[in-house]
């Protein structure tokens, strides 16, 4: 136990002191802070602090078709500011005003020879706007319809009865109800996958570094291989978890500080982030990390040269990717049996179960079963990994094949 603490402490200190680790963490934190400030940065560069989304549209109604009712468009909260002109303005004048950024777009209402009307939508560049925006067409149609209805001399009630006022809701036939923004959940699933994967990968490279630097021989005479594997795995896991906590905390603080509350609420429903979910996510991070880190300890101990790490680690990487995609794609249909399977299957459950819980569709028995399966898997991997590690670390030479690994496992050296 004393040795385990010593190995953990040394691993943590060694990892945290590495320049590459410090620099990469700082870069991630800076990128997060910059990322959450992008809306503020963009608005700072916009003239007079104008909202970028508020586009100015000039409507030229020289025939006065709308009889002055176009001003009501500004009350419709369409995201545009409308300027209405009843005098004739030429295309050239509009072009100049768009170039001067006085307006963004313009609509010219013209009467055709057959008496019908044509609305010309003028934009600076059609690569950005391929067609006339649907909401704009609907709004202008509505204004015209209301104008014509009002001319019929109907009462307010009659006019109101003509305007549909239906309430639309959505319901499902399945009993399990899914909540949460699926896009955000998938994004968080990717974050959790990378966190587990890259922390676990560090174990492999750390073990191979010890082998290539030939320190292993001294190390195994100082403490047991089991202590080295577990100490390293726990040490790197602690550093990884702390790194993720710092990153998540920075992201949350940045989101709260720099984002408009409405924008934040639209993207992330913070009410879903309960302490229970945080604990479950950390538990799955730790268990998922252990499963993959121990597999990486196994592969890391079978190579002696840094250039062989990549190929030795490929099987574990494939396993991780299969686990991740099994979780990721079934999450699009979270009530499916395949997603339920992914939440219990040990290679995918760390990337899947926290989000089933977040969506409110995981039962307690499912969670308990998933954790038990994962722990049993970790114990089996640990037993095999420690045995192979113990026998393989003193083997120098070419990368071991699968056959060699089986031989080494059967060896009674330790």
């Amino acid at each position: 136990m004393r040795d385990l603490k010593t190995v953990i402490a040394f691993t943590i200190k060694d990892m945290a002191k590495r320049k590459s680790f410090i620099i990469s963490t700082l870069i991630i934190l800076i990128l997060i802070v910059i990322g959450f400030n992008i809306p503020n940065i963009i608005s700072a560069f916009t003239e007079d602090g104008e909202n970028l989304g508020e586009e100015k549209i000039l409507i030229v109604d020289s025939t006065n078709l709308f009889e002055g009712t176009l001003q009501t468009l500004n009350q419709m909260d369409l995201g545009y500011t409308f300027q209405i002109a009843n005098n004739d303005i030429s295309f050239e004048d509009i072009k100049t005003r768009i170039e001067d950024k006085d307006i963004n777009e313009a609509i010219i209402i013209e009467q055709k020879d057959d008496g019908t009307y044509k609305l010309r939508y003028i934009v600076e560049n059609m690569t950005q706007v391929a067609s006339v925006p649907e909401d704009l067409i609907n709004a202008i149609n509505a204004v015209y319809t209301n104008l014509q209805i009002s001319k019929l001399g109907l009462t307010q009630e009659q006019i109101a009865s003509l305007t549909p006022n239906f309430e639309f809701t959505i319901e499902q036939t399945e009993e399990q109800e899914v909540s949460g923004n699926l896009g955000v959940i998938m994004l968080l699933s990717i974050v959790l996958f990378y966190a587990i994967y890259f922390c676990a990968y560090q174990v492999s490279s750390s073990i191979t570094t010890e082998k290539t630097s030939k320190i292993m021989e001294t190390l195994v005479t100082s403490t047991s291989p089991r202590t080295i594997v577990l100490g390293k795995t726990i040490g790197i896991g602690i550093v990884g978890l702390l790194q993720i906590c710092v990153i998540v905390a920075t992201a949350l603080i940045s989101a709260k500080t720099f984002l408009e509350p409405e924008l934040l609420d639209a993207v992330l429903d913070m009410s879903k982030f309960t302490p229970y979910l945080a604990v479950i996510t950390i538990v799955y991070f730790i268990l998922g990390y252990f499963a993959y880190a121990l597999l990486y300890a196994l592969t890391g101990s079978t190579v002696s040269k840094p250039e062989d790490i990549q190929s030795a680690n490929t099987p574990v990487a494939i396993l991780a990717v299969i686990g991740f995609y099994l979780s990721y794609f079934t999450m699009m249909n979270p009530t499916s049996e395949l997603n339920q399977f992914a939440a219990i299957f040990p290679i995918s459950s760390p990337f899947c179960m926290p989000f089933r819980i977040m969506m409110g569709i995981a039962s307690t028995s499912e969670i308990v079963l998933s954790i038990i399966v994962l722990i049993i898997t970790i114990l089996i991997i640990a037993k095999v990994a420690i045995k192979i590690y113990s026998n393989a670390i003193l083997n120098y030479g070419t990368k071991m094949t699968f056959k060699d690994i089986v031989k080494v496992y059967r060896d009674k050296n330790n």
Binding site: V7, D14, K214, E217, T218, S222, L394, K407
Partner: protein
Amino acid sequence: MGLKLENVSKKFVGKQAVDNISFEVDKPSVFGLLGTNGAGKTTTIRMLLGIIKKDTGEITWNGKKVERKSVNFGYLPEERGVYPKTKIYDQLMYFAKLKGMSPKDADEAIKKWAKVLKVEEYIQMTAEKLSKGNQQKIQFMTAIIHDPELIVLDEPFSGLDPVNTEILKNIIMDLVKEGKYIIMSSHQMSSIEEFCTDILILNKGKTVLKGNLKEIKEGYKANRLEISTDTNIDEYIKNFNMDIEFSKNNEYSIKINSEENAHQLLKKLVDDHVVVNKFEIKKPTLNDIFIEKVG
């Protein structure tokens, strides 16, 4: 008391690495473990350190079975290794703690040995900035920092310059005076001859020679004559049916069958008024014995 290996064997898949070897180091001294590459030295060392399990036989230290957990030996492996990006002090402290030392005792030991080995100025540097020789001294410190009773040194002098070799030799001699048991494996026969009282030579996992080095050498007849003269004596040597091993500027190293034969050659040279500057009949060196046994 001391270290005892009895009928120890180890087989790896398809290969008998060590075959029924026995030896004992019963008093503080340097024991020489010799053999060609792949003879089974490293496997023997790993077994006596408890890193790998033996198939058969018994290894005891002071009468108790050797297991990795129960012993606290020091080990300088042939494969030199340090953490390249970690401060020397930190890695020495790490190994000292793993060997059961308190941080305070470890700190004192690090400072003491850094002074003795003349590496004080490097102690706060990362290992990658040190020369190969200095890295080796650091690894030697790792082997002895916890004051072990038994120390295994595998090729301790390889890569060291003459100054550092001398420093290390003095330390080894001091360690023996302090009552330490040392197992030394080396291909430098001169070092073995200089330090070892007892030796064991392994070939393909089997013991081909073991015992007290002095007694072993005394058991061999003289086989070489070293002679230096003023003139060329090739013809004399030919007439006495002797083989020249080496000759340069009238200095000869000659293979002889008996001391009598050498004396007759000397008599003939003196009779013919050839000036003899040096005449030395030599017994086989450890190098000769080694080559004879495993070559």
